[in-house]
Subunit: 471 residues, 2 copies
């Protein structure tokens, strides 16, 4: 591995490779993640082009050194951990827009581009990239984890917004998965094979993103319910209604609302929130459509709650209301007792089962004596439970681990998934096996082995090599 790093330095220059312990630590561990490895990469390389990445891959292949791509470091399942050491490949200098085609509604970017910066940069064109994961996320990581966020209800997930990828394969060869049409039916869908494969098949060096028109108008409404069940029932009915198209539909539970009242930012604390399960609704479209949708939904929701349907009357109010949803996770993090860590789960189930699984999960946490709050993307049947635990407290850690396992087992019993948007990393490999079974995982392993016969690309993620790989 050291030889590989030295040879990379020879090609890319002294500045492009570091062995600094602090840098290695930062690239090998995340406080946000509950799935970390104690191993570290032996070096971090900083490519500036597809050619650089190709050189790195060629050299790593030659020396059989694992390659671990690193984006913004915001993933939470140990997706960039280095359990087999190797060379960490930090994409942060590959942060350029390569070509913007407003008339085609697409943009070609390098993987190190931050999605919020990108959207600011192109805002005047009237277009935007609709995925909204963590504010710090980079496009490369978003591709690798098939991310989504609150916009998924209307806009789908990352896979729906990638037109093509340039990918460096393990041996250093470079492919482009597609050309640039918005629609195609030509050959295997390699784009979708790489999206969500967490860098285990190749390293993404260019991404062509489809863009959407920024909606002319938006609005936000908030309404609380007597129970998770009532909130979910209202949400389900809304999703199935033929006349309304929501831009987002999110749920925060009573605990989360209490936390916002107590510890929210100044903006959020402007109002006193009902400490009950609460739906946050976003509307978008032309001004009349938004007005019409808001009115319809306010009527539609009445049988489900007697609480008032609060609609933003101004753009400031709209911002303030949505801030409560946006700040939920960060507010939880800010009140984390010293020494404790946050565990955020990410299961998704068929729509009709969401209320039940949230309810049972909350009961389970409460029986185990764990402080837990719920934030859910109701429109997709996906929710997160945020729990604190002290990693030094074995009993508490075990309890949280148990609650997480219960949740995943329940999700699978309901024909759901153990990962709605955070991917698998090293944290959920076992659960993925439970979810899909040995035959489907076997096929994934077959594909992996065909593309990466020496298992060098982000090894130890998504699934392990079959036990007979090198027999």
């Amino acid at each position: 591995m050291l030889q590989a790093a030295e040879e990379i330095t020879g090609f890319l220059g002294e500045d492009a490779v570091t062995y600094d312990a602090e840098v290695l630590e930062h690239h090998g561990h995340s406080d946000w993640s509950t799935a970390n490895s104690s191993e570290r990469a032996i070096a971090v390389a900083y490519p500036r082009s597809t050619e650089d990445v190709s050189t790195i891959a060629r050299i790593c292949s030659k020396y059989r050194a694992p390659m671990i791509p690193f984006g913004a470091g915001s993933s939470v399942e140990g997706n960039f951990a280095q359990p087999y050491s190797g060379i960490c490949i930090d994409m942060s200098y590959m942060d350029q827009v390569i070509a913007f085609h407003p008339e085609d509604m697409d943009i070609i970017v390098q993987p190190g581009v931050n999605w919020m910066d990108l959207n600011s940069q192109i805002a005047s064109s009237g277009l935007f990239a609709p995925m909204d994961p963590s504010p710090t996320a980079s496009v490369g990581g978003m591709v690798s984890t098939n991310c989504s966020g609150t916009n998924a209800m209307r806009y789908g997930t990352m896979k729906d917004w990638v037109l093509n990828l340039t990918v460096v394969l393990p041996d250093g060869s470079v492919i482009k998965t597609r050309r640039r049409p918005r629609k195609t039916s030509a050959g295997f869908n390699l784009t979708s094979l790489f999206v969500g494969s967490e860098g285990t098949l190749g390293i993404v060096t260019e991404v062509t993103l489809k863009l959407a028109p920024i909606p002319e108008d938006t609005s936000v409404a908030v309404v609380s319910f007597p129970s998770i069940k009532a909130a979910s029932a209202a949400a389900s009915a809304l999703i199935r209604s033929s006349g309304v198209q929501l831009a987002a539909l999110e749920i925060l539970d009573d605990v989360q609302m209490r936390v916002l009242n107590k510890h929210g930012s100044a903006v959020v604390k402007k109002r006193k929130w009902a400490e009950k399960p609460t739906l946050f609704l976003k509307f978008s479209g032309c001004a009349e459509a938004v007005k019409g949708d808001v009115k319809r939904v306010s009527q539609f929701i009445k049988p489900f709650t007697s609480d008032s349907f609060q609609v933003a009357r101004t753009k400031q109010e709209e911002h303030d209301l949505w801030s409560a949803r946006k700040e939920a996770l960060f507010t939880m993090v800010s009140i984390r007792p010293p020494g404790t860590r946050l565990w955020s789960t990410d299961v998704a189930v068929p729509l009709s089962r969401l209320a039940e699984i949230i309810d049972v999960s909350k009961q389970d946490c409460s029986q185990l004596g764990i402080f837990a709050s719920v934030v859910g993307h109701v429109g997709d049947g996906n929710f997160h439970v945020a729990m604190f635990f002290d990693p030094k407290d074995a009993e508490q850690s075990a309890k949280v681990g148990k609650a997480v396992k219960h949740m995943m087992r329940r999700a699978l019993e309901m024909e759901g998934t153990v990962s709605g948007e955070h991917a698998i990393g090293i944290g959920k490999k076992e659960c993925l096996m439970d979810e899909l079974g040995p035959a489907a995982i076997g096929l994934m392993q077959t594909l992996k082995k065909a593309v990466d016969p020496n298992w060098l690309m982000n090894p130890g993620k998504v699934f392990d090599p079959p036990s007979n790989l090198y027999v």
Copy 2:
């Protein structure tokens, strides 16, 4: 192969296998397709379950007999041709709905289900499967070709509506690509690998489809333009506008409109159509939104044409207007001179290039003396040119072949694709190589070989085996 067929008969029964020459002919050749093979399968097998398909695959693998799945036979690129003979696997008896979950907005079906029947069957639930390819298409074929149709602008393509697949692999093993959540980020996206792979990796035996709410209201408008350029410019501006969400946006050229005036059905002939490039627009949403959208678009379009914006005033008018679009292809087929055949192209380009490629393609056809009409899915940059040719007239056939080649070369120069929605089959293998290059095709071949080492699944489609496969 004969041994394989006999062993299949032994397991599945006499009724499940036929050697009838007429049946073989029907399964091996299509008048709709310009890409046929002279070879025929030696038998057609009719499975009734996943287990039957698994048995067939196991036996075919044992005898190294090619397996060619057959849906409704409506594909046009020779997707079900049998250039290496083998066993044709007709899925028409696998036409059952396995489970309908209206509350989860999904449905599990066998691949032989016709999409129009399916939508009639579930209409009372207020839900529908939004893809609208050929009326005869079956779900299995729709999955295999990653089909779309006029609804693609709003709803995307088939890959966006498949939640999971049950697939029989070449050795007879069975996998399920996902469970049933609407959103997931768990492991490789096997679903999207199989969608559009034309049965070359495995045989799809169950499909879970995501469903959408039937829009509360719809409307249709029609407007003609002085030129393709003006029509395309209007379309582009509309697609990028922030306030309007169209359900569909289609173009018919002057030739196609003339054909409709002359040869359209009674419904279409109710009105005299302007024989100019014409946009067909579909609106959908709640009643007010549709009304608002229609009004906006009628204003929006004014700078691009002085022709009148004709909006359906009644549901009957809406049906009649849209019929002209829907009947376009069939009308062309009905006026086909005896002995001639229809060649329908299917390229797609980035949005801004659509007007140019349609214009140049029309000029090209006119210079070559070919009668050609254009139907386009403007909202996706995808269009079809329908041309007649007499297969016995070598000169004419050559001319049409040339026009088709020119069109594909032009599409590639514009960073487009040679297949927007009809897939590759045996008809476009060379062009796919031109489109993606040897590195990307090489990766597809690597994946194919890993999953199907003996190249038995629908061989000769999408791409050929690498020349060194069995060296």
